[in-house]
């Protein structure tokens, strides 16, 4: 199914259809992740691939137009490159450990400790979260920074246009459509759900990143059903920008505090008397940092794209 989708994406020239199919592709991948036990990843892929990416692509298409020209040059050279690369990969996989077999080196080294000891060492049931936020917490900090860097890029490229009321005389609101009524009722629950995901990352799938995306999605829904102006009123860009940087600093700050308390950077065990508690607090804080940054960055990027589209 995935292959079929991919091929169709290549073939189709209506970019709009391509983007929609891409969102399907993402959902499919996410389902596959589910099958492969990667629940957290599935969660993220759904939120990001089918959600944010698709929305951003649509935002771009609004501005750039949606039809692709017939490719002018011959596809032979790229084809060769691709086939070659693929051949190397296939050749390389011949010696790969077989899919799913538990005696792969992957499952023999390093990972057993995460699986066997993390509930004791870190004290939370979701191993993905403990690896993510504690064992490899630094990677996750990097990830947060990557998101932040993307924000910097988008802001410097397209910026958020100040919303100018084009029709100042229009004070009387048109009757609310079905969509608006429905969305309004839904949004609070979406937001709360996001916060739920944020704070229950320790126990089930989810965590700061997913929560951030969902939260942003809630705000985006508001912007879509009502107007960008309303959304900006609810979550003013200025405030959100501060929050974005604050999230990063919260993450880093947690690390620095653990340094000041005598551990190494991001060693949460020293945060409280009891290492387990320390880990718990640390993870809570850094996840919060991630969530704040991601949510605000996603919102800001969305603002930037849409305000750019509405400006012209």
């Amino acid at each position: 199914m995935l292959g079929l989708t991919a091929m169709t994406i290549i073939r189709l020239r209506s970019l709009f259809a391509v983007v929609m199919l891409f969102s399907i592709y993402s959902l499919l991948t996410a389902s596959l992740f589910m099958v492969l036990d990667a629940v957290d990843v599935a969660f993220t892929e759904a939120a990001v691939g089918a959600g944010i990416s698709t929305m951003l692509m649509l935002g771009t298409l609004m501005i750039t137009g949606y039809r692709e020209k017939r490719p002018a040059h011959s596809p032979i050279l790229p084809l060769i490159v691709v086939v070659l690369t693929g051949a190397v990969l296939v050749w390389g996989t011949l010696d790969m450990p077989h899919f799913g077999s538990p005696d792969q080196p992957v499952h023999q080294h390093v990972a057993p400790r995460y699986i066997d000891d993390s509930p004791k060492e870190v004290g939370i049931p979701n191993m993905v979260t403990s690896v993510l936020a504690s064992y490899r917490g630094y990677d996750t900090m990097g990830e947060t920074i990557v998101v932040f860097a993307a924000l910097i890029g988008v802001l410097s490229l397209i910026g958020i246009k100040k919303y100018t009321n084009k029709e100042p005389g229009r004070t009387e609101k048109p009757p609310e459509s079905i969509l608006q009524v429905a969305a309004k009722l839904l949004i609070p629950f979406i937001l709360l759900f996001a916060l739920y995901v944020q704070f229950h990352g320790d126990f089930g799938p989810g965590g700061g990143f997913q929560a951030g995306v969902i939260f942003a999605a809630g705000i985006i829904l508001y912007a879509l059903t009502f107007s960008l102006k309303d959304a900006m009123h609810l979550a003013p860009p200025k405030v959100v920008k501060v929050i974005a940087a604050f999230g990063v600093l919260l993450y880093g700050g947690t690390g620095i505090v653990s340094m000041l308390k005598g551990g190494t950077f991001l060693n949460y065990s020293v945060l409280a008397h009891d290492p387990i508690h320390g880990q718990h607090y640390g993870i809570l804080l850094v996840e919060l940092g991630v969530g704040l940054t991601v949510a605000s960055v996603m919102m800001l990027i969305f603002y930037a794209f849409v305000s750019r589209g509405e400006a012209d």
Partner: protein, 493 residues
């Protein structure tokens, strides 16, 4: 107490400062802050270098988890050298940025600009210092994303397309690296470099391992603009703001070369790289062609920035050639050139930035007669140029000397010839600028220009002087490079 934390401070200081910088808004404040940070970072890198100068290795366990379960930072002479050069260049470029950026970038974007610069800077440091294969990828992306941003800030609209091109190429490269790391991981179950180094020899014959190797080499090849994967580089450097060109040319490709070295010799080992993969037979032809071809192309460029960009491609060829020589001298030469090339390209691009500050562009015709009008700027350019050519008493000579020695040790005469021919080509392209600047009159009606302001000149001259200093006083660089080369070839540290 703080000493223990130096390795991590090296990266998180600029990293977190970026977030603070973002909050500082417009005006001069972000600049002042960023400059301060770059100096602090430089100081940290010096302290680290002092600690490892005796050949020891520092290890820092992030999160308090010992590797391979947690991520660790490892510093030895090799990356200490790279850290010093990256942060040193930054410490010079940031002060320079103020005036140059005022001229080239819209005021409301200054805060963002410095934030992106800090991010890029921190990312590069992070790639250099980390001891975890996947962490390399993450930090690589931090620096890449901010690099795309920085390039796109160039005035010309072509900055956008070149940034986009770079984005595509860079992401493909990063994804290749990701594939490579994934394949290695599949075989070993670990991501820590030292741990990998222990486990890889046990499975040397695996084809998967070789495929992974190919992907990593190609991936980093894209990032470091290995010929023929260099196509993104000339445009990116040519259209980026001057400060960015200078900073990237001096640091970004260096770090990629470093990372490649790390993977070739530390993660994989020497035997694998040279004997199982025969990497030298790939590198040497490519590097030679790069050196010659890029130098020739450089000669025909009208834009001096682009000319220097092509020159960079050629210089990267030198570094790869050093790797391909399969001997300690070759690796030493690569490391030396890594360091020295940063100095010379930095000086050249900064001088060019000063020119751009005054005349607004960098096409060669526009530089006519500048030798008189901007004597100090052009003198710095000449010093950098001499270094590129490899004239004795400049830093460029030292690394070329070692490179040639390396070729001679193997008795590979044609390569010696190629290096010399490329030096000649370098003479030609540098000379074109010198001739126009010094022996042409300022065109009629062209506005009179003054010497660049001191805040631009001073950093430029710091680097120009460094070119001479490190061409004369080679103890520091050579001893570090030799120590690092020995440890690289000697297997895992």
């Amino acid at each position: 107490m703080m000493e223990m934390h130096l390795p991590v401070l090296q990266v998180i200081v600029p990293l977190l400062s970026a977030a603070i910088c973002f909050l500082l808004g417009r005006g001069k404040l972000p600049w002042m802050f960023a400059t301060l940070v770059s100096w602090v970072t430089f100081a940290i890198s010096i302290l680290i270098a002092i600690q490892v100068s005796d050949g020891s290795t520092l290890q820092y366990e992030l999160g308090g988890w010992e590797p391979p379960w947690g991520i660790s930072y490892n510093v030895d002479q090799l990356n200490a050298l790279v850290l010093v050069i990256v942060s040193g260049i930054a410490a010079v470029v940031f002060p320079y940025a103020l005036r140059s950026v005022e001229r080239e970038i819209a005021p409301e974007q200054h805060g963002l600009f410095y934030t992106a610069m800090l991010l890029c800077f921190a990312g590069l440091l992070g790639i250099t210092i980390t001891g975890d294969a996947f962490n390399v990828f993450v930090l690589l992306e931090i620096s890449s994303l901010s690099t795309y941003t920085l390039i796109s800030l160039g005035k010309d609209r072509r900055a956008l397309t070149s940034s986009f091109q770079y984005l595509i190429m860079g992401t493909i490269g990063a994804t290749f690296i990701l594939i490579g790391i994934g394949l290695i991981y599949a075989l070993t179950g670990t991501l820590n470099m030292a741990d990998l180094a222990e486990r890889i020899p046990q499975i040397e014959s695996s084809r998967t391992l070789q495929a992974a190797f190919a992907f990593i080499v190609v991936g980093f090849g894209l990032k470091l603009a290995m010929f023929p994967l260099h196509l993104w580089l000339p445009n990116a450097y040519a259209f980026a703001p001057s400060v960015v060109s200078a900073f990237l040319a001096a640091t970004a490709t260096k770090v990629a070369v470093y990372a490649l070295l790390r993977f070739l010799f530390d993660v994989y080992d020497v035997n694998f790289t040279y004997e199982a993969m025969q990497v030298q037979y790939l590198l040497i032809p490519l590097a030679t062609v790069a050196i010659l071809f890029a130098s020739i192309v450089a000669i025909f460029q009208n834009d001096v920035k682009r000319m220097l960009a092509y020159s960079s491609v050629a210089q990267i060829g030198y570094m790869l050639l050093g790797i391909g020589l399969v001997n300690a001298t070759g690796i030493t030469a690569t490391l030396l050139h890594l360091f020295n090339h940063a100095l010379m390209k930095g000086a050249l691009f900064l001088a060019l930035g000063a020119v751009c500050y005054r005349i607004g562009r960098t096409s060669i015709q526009q530089m006519a007669g500048l030798g008189q009008q901007m004597p100090w700027t052009m003198a710095a350019f000449v010093v950098g140029g001499l270094s590129i050519i490899g004239v004795p008493l400049t830093a460029g000579f030292v690394s070329k000397w070692y490179l040639i020695l390396g070729t001679l040790e193997n008795g590979w005469w044609p390569l010696t010839a190629a290096i010399l021919i490329a030096s000649l080509l370098a003479v030609i392209y540098i000379w074109r600028v010198v001739e126009v600047a010094y022996f042409r009159e300022r065109p009629e009606g062209a506005p009179d220009v003054k010497e660049a302001p001191l805040s631009l000149l001073l950093p430029t001259w710091v680097l120009a002087a460094a070119n001479i200093y490190f061409g004369v006083q080679t103890d520091f660089t050579v001893s570090f490079a030799k120590g690092a080369a020995a440890s690289l070839l000697g297997g895992a540290p």
